[in-house]
Symmetry: C2
Subunit: 241 residues, 2 copies
């Protein structure tokens, strides 16, 4: 029997709004379910079990069909996010997509590793800083890096709300000196899923960018990229765009 | 005698606000003088001969000293822009900087090629679209690509104000299918250097982003990156930041 993936939403093509592939057209596959509960999670509809009924069990073939439909059967980079997509069986999707010329970038917090990480084109490890309320399992993160070592380009991405988050990012990056680093100012949303669609304040986000750039340049951390979430600037916190 | 470079300004470190290195800390070296006069040039202080008295003749050694001072002698990527930096003798600066671990990205419209392009780490060719009022010499651009072929990562960057600019970018990109493409919505400023420091409208810029993203995804141009000028969003059109 083919593996079944719990899918929260599939949408696009639109641009990747953040991180190493910023600006690149992509189709997003967002899986449902997460082993974390970050205080500022902006994807509660793909995390909270209240939304479980919306998560559709799909085979790899059905997911790829939808990706092909959305992209007009023209290969592009598919971004797999969640929730935590690393808890889903995604190896078949990646293999079947590669046969059609599609590429795959996966973003996970790094709490669960899978042997199929090696087949990805990009692995974005996004350990959660103190402001999330979560605690990083460094061994699990190292396992993710190790699983991917023969395959994809692996990068670290950090959401930074405050000095403690920044210190966490510095520490985590120093543990994996070979990986490129992307820092992203946190985008505060009020608690609760209802607030998920609320507008953001672009000025406040830009002041956070400024602070983070000052922080990084003052420390001469010249290997770290500082990038905002473009989709938030363009469309606000609206989902599915 | 050592080659002398006309320098309009050296500043940083701050992040690269656009293109392939977006988000990366960099020191900018802006040279004075340009063989173009784009209608919407946002660097008139490095182009217009009215500002010529501000352009400082500097040796490679003096430029590198200033870059090292600004970066605390910690190697980073130096961005060389202008004006058109390709009309300056920059080979010595690149070689001397490499000895100290610095990397060099150069941005030019592609009207003048130099043998030292091969020594760069990144070459950003930014042919000017119809809205600029300039006409691209395709042979000169091809010469730039050829000079760089053994060396740096070469990418194409296009400012897009309207449909004609977009069509130009499509055509130019199709001439160089091996090069990565970065599209950037135009950032309109009123004519004249006095207006150079005026504020921009972030909402209008984001609506242009949205238009350009729609344009690219409708055409399934999935290899093109669409990115705004972050420095304009963060600091407006202020110079030297
Ligand atoms: S790991 Fe990601 S999806 Fe899971 S709760 Fe945290 S922010 Fe939300
Ligand atoms: S090529 Fe660049 S620096 Fe020269 S006039 Fe055009 S926009 Fe200004």
């Amino acid at each position: 029997a083919e593996a079944v993936v719990r899918v929260s939403e599939i949408f696009g093509p639109t641009i990747q709004g953040e991180g190493a592939l910023i600006g690149l057209p992509t189709v997003f596959v967002r899986t449902g379910g997460c082993d974390y509960r970050c205080s500022w999670c902006d994807s509660l509809h793909a995390v909270d079990s209240r939304y479980r009924a919306d998560w559709k069990p799909m085979t790899s073939g059905a997911i790829l069909d939808e990706v092909r439909r959305l992209s007009g059967d023209r290969p592009l980079t598919v971004t797999i996010s969640g929730g935590n997509p690393a808890i889903q069986p995604l190896g078949d999707l990646i293999r079947q997509g590669h046969e059609r010329g599609y590429r795959f970038a996966l973003e996970t917090q790094g709490s669960v590793s899978q042997d199929w990480f090696a087949e990805l084109d990009m692995l974005v490890l996004s350990p959660k800083p103190p402001s999330s309320g979560m605690v990083t399992d460094w061994q699990a993160l190292a396992n993710c890096v190790a699983e991917a070592s023969a395959g994809p380009r692996t990068v670290l991405k950090f959401v930074v709300f405050d000095e403690a988050d920044y210190a966490f990012a510095r520490d985590a990056a120093s543990r994996f000196p070979a990986l490129a680093v992307y820092l992203q100012p946190g985008n505060p949303i009020p608690e609760g899923a209802e607030a998920e669609h609320e507008a953001v304040d672009p000025d406040a986000l830009m002041r956070r960018m400024e602070w983070l750039i000052d922080r990084v340049t003052a420390d001469r951390w010249f290997e770290a990229h500082v990038l905002p979430q473009l989709h938030v600037l363009i469309w606000g916190n609206r989902r599915g765009v």
